[in-house]
């Protein structure tokens, strides 16, 4: 019985020592993991916000394609409107 008690005590002490040694590292890893998750969340939210903001700007058109890169897309949308305003004869 006494032998069992000693053995348990030694095991308890070993476990305590191991915890004292490993717990800070484990805690650090956990903290870093949390920070990483938070950073990813922030980047995601920012990305989605920028994406939504860009597509919520009233541009007057959905998209533009051109076989040459002479003018920006907005130029062709302006042209589409301008030509409509030219009076027909």
């Amino acid at each position: 019985m006494a032998f069992d008690n000693i053995w348990e005590k030694e095991e308890q002490q070993a476990l305590t020592k191991r915890l004292q040694r490993e717990y800070p590292a484990w805690q650090r890893r956990r903290r870093m993991g949390r920070r990483a998750v938070a950073a990813v969340a922030v980047v995601l939210v920012a990305g989605i916000s920028i994406f939504n903001f860009q597509f919520s700007i009233p541009r007057g058109y959905d998209s533009v394609a051109c076989n040459r890169s002479t003018f920006p897309a907005s130029h062709w949308a302006e042209e589409a409107g301008r030509i409509l305003t030219i009076q027909t004869i």
Binding site: D62, A77, T88
Partner: protein, 142 residues
């Protein structure tokens, strides 16, 4: 795990293939002229005429007078100045059609700019919005 990844990738490829949009009339017209070296071709998708009304627009700009002459012959434009306007067939814009033959192109050829603008119209709302847009802007410019 590998099998799961393969299945997921296959499903993603299948979903992408299924959601691929069919080419519109504007796409077809754009690609018909896009390879021409004497033309600048632009396509404006969903040009906003009013709050809820949009049209697809294809613009053909001739780079020089020879290209403009060629484009005029292709589209059977016989005038030499000002603006010429007609309703053109959706597959062959040079062919003049009636308003009832929707969808169609509302074509405007501007001689001074050597430009042809084609507005795809298929509903009464788009016809009305095109007319109102034109009238509003002309009134504003007076």
């Amino acid at each position: 795990m590998k099998r799961f990844i393969y299945i997921a990738l296959s499903l993603m490829a299948l979903a992408t293939a299924c959601t691929k949009e069919a080419p519109t009339d504007g796409d077809r017209l754009y690609h018909r002229y896009a390879s021409r070296e004497d033309l600048t071709v632009a396509q404006v998708r969903g040009f906003h005429l009013a709050d809820t009304v949009k049209v697809d627009v294809v613009l053909l700009v001739a780079d020089d007078s020879a290209a403009w002459q060629g484009l005029k012959e292709e589209l059977d434009i016989r005038t030499t100045e000002g603006v010429t306007s007609w309703l053109g067939d959706i597959d062959e814009p040079a062919r003049r059609v009636k308003r009832s033959e929707v969808p169609l192109w509302r074509v405007m050829a501007v001689h001074d700019d050597r430009t042809v603008a084609l507005y795809r119209v298929e509903s009464a709302a788009q016809f009305d919005a095109l007319r109102d847009y034109q009238l509003d802007r002309i009134e504003c410019n007076k």
